[in-house]
């Protein structure tokens, strides 16, 4: 067994994001990627109003780096135009949370979940459901 479970490898910045409470998730669009077997399973969801995202939230089975990254992405996307889903900068996340290279695969799962969210938006947009303009 590995002894002494400590937090040596995590920054205070990461700690601040990791420790945030779970966010409420919107219901208009949703994208999921990964699996427990892959070491990360992430789902993003949001409401869409006037082409902008609200209630951007996520659920994640993931390591602290990726959970902190998810919180950061959700924060950045809140209120942003829907096109922002296609422009989430992974490199910035890597630098911001000092995400080690061995977690590059999990970071891609995060990206896949966001991409799936955007794809869901496009599918819904093309379908008869669409997105009502809300007040």
């Amino acid at each position: 067994m590995d002894s002494n479970i400590a937090s040596q490898r995590y920054s205070a910045h990461l700690e601040a994001y990791f420790s945030r409470p779970a966010l409420n998730m919107g219901q208009d669009i949703r994208g999921e990627a990964g699996s427990e077997r892959q070491g990360a399973r992430i789902c993003f969801a949001a409401d869409v109003r006037d082409n902008c995202m609200h209630n951007v939230g996520f659920r994640a089975f993931a390591c602290p780096h990726i959970i902190a990254g998810c919180h950061r992405v959700a924060e950045q996307l809140e209120g942003a135009r829907i096109e922002a889903l296609a422009q989430v900068p992974l490199e910035n996340l890597k630098a911001e949370f000092d995400i080690p290279i061995e977690k590059a695969g999990k970071l891609l799962i995060l990206k896949d979940a966001i991409d799936a969210c955007y794809a869901d938006y496009q599918v819904r947009l093309a379908s008869s459901r669409g997105f009502p303009t809300r007040q």
Binding site: M1, D2, S3, N4, I5, A6, S7, Y10, F18, P21, A22, N24, M25, G26, Q27, R30, E32, E36, R37, G39, A40, R41, C43, A45, N55, G57, R59, A60, F61, A62, C63, P64, I67
Partner: protein
């Protein structure tokens, strides 16, 4: 800053002040600093007397003759010396070793080394509760088997093996029987005669004694010596040469003396604390106990949490000094082979946590651990619940 709660007694333990005091006395220039082999003067004689006193104390706890003990640097060396030394010494008798898949690496890697020297090794697997079936050991014996090595209690799960039954069948087949008792000494009664154990590894630092000292019991009627791993000096009949560290040995003697006196009261006290901890967390969703729920050490509680990511769980528990079965900090990258042997999958191995309590553990600490662990698990489970919408 909140103080970290120590519940990692199966890894090592704080030194008991009584042990420290006796060790310090040995290091005083007026007491027992001499070389115990230099019995031509009073300094050496005092040191030799202290070593003899300590040997009596260790022997008393496991019911052997003090002359049957060899001092070592700890249980790892004792295991190495027992497995490699006995196998090599009895190589003419046969070159087959039987052990289990859940032994400490000190035994497993000794066996792996023997395999490179032409020995064959059979690894008996446990059942899903971590128990080794004595009949499985018996079935693994061949005419070539010279040694069986089975730990008394597992270091990760605390599961206790039926070493008396295995000892009986080994004796019946005239096979040497080694037991690693690093975790069990002072927590379980050990009687090497009744249990028909031929070699027994013990140490001090798992029982509030000093690190860096241990002993190997060699049944004088069954195996008078083993092939040494160290050479030079001739001390300890050449089995383990080197000047004896009197202060360390004295600390081990005091450790065993205290265990002998206090074990009857301490074991139920620690078991109550362990059970209080289990009662506090057992209701958490997805929690699984690893190992036999009944036949395990009073001090160990090993659990896994379903659908919670291991690294995040460990991070959430940073206020606790505990152990995990994760591979993230090991060089092997394989995770806990013990939990894998019990059939646990990657996720459950990664999210496993071992709490181990000991002499200085308190009910207040247990209650704090229940709260911290419960909060961390609940938070991560909420975060990972993908079927939830808002």
């Amino acid at each position: 800053m909140t103080e970290v709660i120590y519940m990692d007694y199966a890894a090592t333990t704080p030194l008991d002040p009584r042990v420290r005091d006796r060790m310090l006395a040995c290091m005083d220039h007026t007491v027992a600093f001499g070389n115990p082999s230099s019995t031509t003067h009073s300094f050496g004689k005092r040191a030799a007397d202290e070593v003899a006193r300590s040997a009596e104390e260790v022997a008393s706890l496991i019911n052997c003759d003090p002359a049957e003990l060899v001092w070592t640097s700890g249980a790892t060396e004792s295991d190495n010396l027992a497995v490699i030394g006995a196998a090599q010494f009895r190589a003419m008798r046969g070159r087959h070793i039987v052990t289990t898949a859940i032994e400490h690496k000190a035994v497993l890697e000794s066996c792996e080394w023997l395999a490179t020297q032409g020995f064959t090794v059979t690894y008996v697997r446990p059942n899903e509760l971590g128990q080794i079936d004595p009949d499985a050991i018996k079935a693994a014996l061949t005419a070539e088997t010279s040694l069986v090595s089975v730990m008394h209690a597992n270091n990760e799960t605390g599961v206790i093996q039926d070493v008396a039954a295995i000892g009986a069948l080994c004796r019946d087949q005239d096979v040497l029987f080694h037991v690693d008792a690093a975790q069990s000494v002072g927590k379980l009664p050990i009687n090497v005669r009744e249990m028909q154990i031929d070699l027994l590894s013990v140490n001090a630092h798992k029982a509030c004694g000093p690190k860096g000292v241990g002993a190997l019991y060699l049944n004088a009627e069954r195996i008078r010596r083993v092939t040494p791993l160290l050479f030079g000096g001739g001390q300890q009949r050449g089995i383990r040469p080197g000047t004896l560290p009197v202060h360390q040995i004295s600390g081990m003697g005091e450790t065993m003396r205290i265990l002998g006196e206090e074990m009857a009261a301490e074991v139920p006290r620690i078991r109550d604390l362990r059970d209080r901890l289990w009662a506090g967390i057992a209701g958490l969703p997805g929690l699984m106990l690893n190992g036999d729920p009944v036949n395990r050490l009073c001090s160990v509680l090993n659990v896994s949490v379903a659908h919670v990511e291991g690294e995040s769980l460990r991070y959430g528990l940073a206020g606790l000094a505990i152990s995990s079965g994760s591979a993230c900090n090991t060089a092997t990258g394989e995770g806990s082979y013990v939990l894998r042997s019990l059939g646990r999958n990657d996720q459950l191995v990664e999210s496993s946590v071992r709490f181990s309590l000991g002499r200085f553990s308190t009910a207040a600490e247990v209650d704090q651990v229940v709260e911290i662990f419960g909060d961390a698990v609940a938070r991560l489970q909420r975060l990972s619940r993908l079927d939830e919408h808002s």
